[in-house]
Amino acid sequence: MEAKVTSLNVTVVDKAKDTEVAFDAKSDQPVLLSIRSVVGSPIPVGCKGGGCGVCKVRVLEGNFSAKRMSKAHISEQDLEENVVLACRIIPETDLKVEILAETPEEDKS
């Protein structure tokens, strides 16, 4: 059965910049891939494959499913706290996420 692709609303909270930006995300692909332009993207864009950690966010509201994420960047505990990589979570409802961009020093590997 083909699930119908819907358009969902993703709100990005950036505490450092004190901004809240929203964009439309498709329900059949990871959130980050719905952002077509890297320039001015509300979420930092890196490898788009769950490997580099630059798109790290905390999901504050909403449901999602997740593809595998590098444990060098997302620990078990992160997962429990809804800390994920925006390029690996597929939205099931509207989402509200907070940016947690990682600096190289925080790398867990």
Binding site: G49, G51, C52, S70, K71
Partner: protein
């Protein structure tokens, strides 16, 4: 001075999803799937390579590089280089023949940047893929995608690149071909070769250990690099930058990401080096031009996105 290290032999890359990765490296890049082992690892190579494999994909819960290996002239050279590494003060791990399928024993060490390197002398030679050793045709007609011809080099990020330079040049006989230096002489990038190429391995200094920037594969022409870019767009594969030219090595290039976020490069051309060539030096203030010759500035991802 050459010490019998011949060429990059293989790289083992960690991927988050094996099937997606095989599609990327085989169907899109055109590497040939040669074998699989009982650990589930997949062995691939570029069609011009005579050894059985040069890329090993291992499914894991993080992306990045497990190790990169160099092939040395013969088993006696392997023994003498192992002794030299030991005398230098490095701890070696010896992996038995067959640990990687159809590969002889390997000597592994950890570089001061945290990366794992290995040397080996023996690997099954299946010959170039799709062409014979006798009256060979120009190319195999059924190679796929980008038709990557060979695994060429890796670029790695780490802290102690001076330590790495000392081991690679003084113990393993590599030549420093190009470098990027700060005004005080501090090296921030080193490109080294064990061959006539402009680099077989390169490092950029960053405050991190054991990070993988990219594995690179050789194409025949600038037009092939352009067509690789076309294929990336056709398959909606994330492109990092390019097609463009590097200042360092002057190769024409495109960077993109595999489905686990590991960066890949395909490139063509580039300078060559002989043992009497002086080191090419780039000033750190020209780093942008050294990396991306046309943009003359780094994109944000170049220094921050690694696995």
């Amino acid at each position: 001075m050459k010490k019998g290290v011949m060429r990059p032999g293989h790289v083992q890359i960690r991927v988050l999803d094996l099937d997606e990765a095989v599609k990327h490296y085989a169907d899109l890049m055109g590497l040939i799937e040669m074998d699989r082992d009982d650990q589930g690892r997949v062995y691939l190579k570029g069609w011009t390579e005579v050894d059985k494999f040069s890329v090993v994909l291992r499914e894991a819960d993080e992306a990045g590089m497990d190790f990169m290996a160099f092939k040395v002239a013969d088993e006696a050279t392997l023994d003498s280089l192992a002794q030299d590494l030991r005398d230098y003060g490095l701890e070696l791990t010896e992996l038995p023949a067959g640990d990687l399928k159809d590969c002889g024993r390997r000597i592994q060490f950890t570089a001061p940047t945290g990366h794992h390197f290995e040397l080996f002398a023996t690997k099954e030679q299946t010959g170039k893929w799709g062409v014979s050793n006798r009256n060979p045709e120009a190319w195999p007609r059924d190679a796929k995608g980008m038709k990557a011809t060979r695994f060429d080099h890796c670029l790695l990020y780490g802290d102690d690149i001076d330590g790495v330079l000392d081991i690679f040049t003084n113990v393993l006989g590599f030549q420093l071909v190009e470098q990027v230096v700060e005004p005080d002489g501090n090296k921030i990038a080193i490109f080294m070769a064990c061959s006539m190429k402009e680099h077989d391995i390169a490092f950029i200094r960053q405050p991190m250990k054991d990070k993988f920037h990219h594995a690179s594969f050789f194409l025949e022409s600038w037009e092939d690099v352009l067509k690789a870019g076309d294929l990336l767009s056709m398959t909606d594969t994330p492109i990092d930058i390019g097609p463009t030219r590097h200042g360092l090595t002057h190769g024409t290039t495109i960077y993109f990401f595999d489905p686990s976020g590991n960066r890949c490069e395909v490139f063509s051309g580039g300078d060559y080096t002989y043992p009497d060539h002086p080191v090419i030096t780039w000033d750190a203030e020209q780093l942008g031009k050294a990396i991306f010759y046309h943009d003359r500035e780094l994109n944000e991802r170049f220094l921050t996105v690694v696995t």
